[in-house]
Subunit: 246 residues, 2 copies
């Protein structure tokens, strides 16, 4: 079972858009996929707009079973949603012992999926630490600008500390260049810088494509909303790479 | 003395870029301007890259004076920087009484500026609450996509709760459309939606312009880096509006 945390504490680098479309693409390829939202902004539930009654809060704090919190959003695609109650969950968990491993412990009984993708908020929060410690594999969507690069350095330091303190082996497995615009030097330079630092882990870029954001307002994946768009093309390429990565 | 919190818990909506260029533009117009960074990512210090020894942590937790924490970055432009020690500050403050008003109390002796701009992180954190309660005036940079609109609703609810609980009169004074791309319907629709909901408070949009992000890697404001760009034009228009607003 493959577990992935989609993480970058810089805001707006395409984490949620990647969770939706990587998850959606894997589901279309027949992989039973669970999306777990650990962001109190609850953008995954906003995106798919499912009916739900229980969320991350009930799962982590009120000890509800995974089945009562997970909803099916597509064939092969499931969601454990989040909303602002997750902020309350984080406050409560902050006071507990072993607070960085609660997600790992609660998720240990969830083993009937092929892939589990955790969508993270833009911060270095307790829930993010839980996501990294649980999944141990991190994918970093990095937007093509200088401030996003700076964020990567902070995140790597955070991961290094987790590995040291928790004796966990959290790895950055893929770096996904997002908002790539081939007309700008900036995109090319940031892309090259990433390739130098993360040799072999940098995926083909996801180009800026308005269809990707439009899809969210129609509650659709890019494959449903605009299957012939650059956005669909680029996320298909990513899906293939993730499947190959094993 | 005008105090402004630049806030939106959605990530990457142009908060920091707005703080830099609104602040930089006001300074050029002769207004003595202080930028206060309450984001542990410390992007304002990254942007201007000044020498500094004391930051928000020392100011809020170790009771250092404002003068020992504020650095001059340009003529008329000053910075109280932040870095990951601010995350530590937030943890410590969480345990204290009156933790939502610490910034307001510490900043009460800072009164020799014309404008103070607080740059906020993408979250609904304690430091953000402090920023809102201190400044009482919020400017919301909103990027032209559906998920950013969803974030606005959450933020307004947060502000409503602060006003109720703290009996503070926090107001959204301006809504700044960012990443505006006139070629897309999405930009036009989101812009129209904002104008319906925030009648009279929506500024002229800031268009997507790569010069704005490039400027950060040269440690410059847009007026220094690319004075003839659309980015400079749009932020000049914003500076004028803010000066008019009084
Ligand atoms: N390649 C792209 N082209 C165009 N729009 C995109 C692209 N990727 C993401 N977007 C849009 O940009 C906005 C920000 O992306 P998204 O919300 O996925 O980032 P995020 O990293 O999850 O943000 P946050 O830090 O707030 O969680 C969204 O409206 C999204 O639909
Ligand atoms: N109008 C614009 N056109 C092009 N690039 C922009 C524009 N506004 C901001 N950017 C760039 O986009 C990135 C995100 O913007 P910025 O960091 O200002 O957003 P933010 O809301 O402060 O993000 P965070 O939520 O992480 O604090 C930065 O690299 C910035 O330089
Ligand atoms: Mg997100
Ligand atoms: Mg910022």
């Amino acid at each position: 079972m493959k577990k992935i945390a989609i993480i970058n504490q810089k805001g707006g680098t395409g984490k949620t858009t990647t969770a939706v479309n990587l998850g959606g693409g894997l589901a279309l390829e027949g992989y039973k996929t669970l999306l777990v939202d650990v962001d109190p902004q609850g953008n995954l539930a906003t995106w798919f707009n499912p009916e739900y009654e229980r969320s991350l809060y009930h799962f982590l704090v009120e000890d509800e079973s995974p089945d009562s919190c997970i909803v099916e959003v597509r064939e092969n695609l499931y969601l454990l949603p989040s909303d602002k109650t997750a902020a309350q969950a984080e406050k409560i968990l902050t006071g507990q012992t072993s607070r960085e491993t609660i997600l790992m412990r609660k998720m240990s009984e969830v083993d009937d999926y092929d892939v589990i993708i955790v969508d993270c908020p833009p911060s270095l929060s307790l829930l993010n630490q839980n996501a990294l410690i649980y999944a141990r594999t991190a994918y970093l969507p990095v937007s093509m600008n200088y401030l996003a690069l700076v964020g990567v350095r902070n995140l790597l330091e955070n991961i290094r500390q987790i590995n040291e303190i928790m004796d966990r082996d959290v790895k950055v497995s893929l770096v996904i260049p997002t908002f790539y615009d081939k007309r700008t030097n900036e995109s090319k330079e940031i892309y090259e810088t990433l390739k130098e630092h993360f040799d072999g882990k940098v995926t083909e870029p996801i180009r800026t494509n308005v269809r990707l954001s439009e899809a969210s307002s129609y509650n659709q994946t890019i494959f449903e909303y605009a299957p012939n768009s650059h956005g669909a093309e680029d996320y298909s390429t990513l899906v293939e790479r993730v499947i190959e990565n094993g």
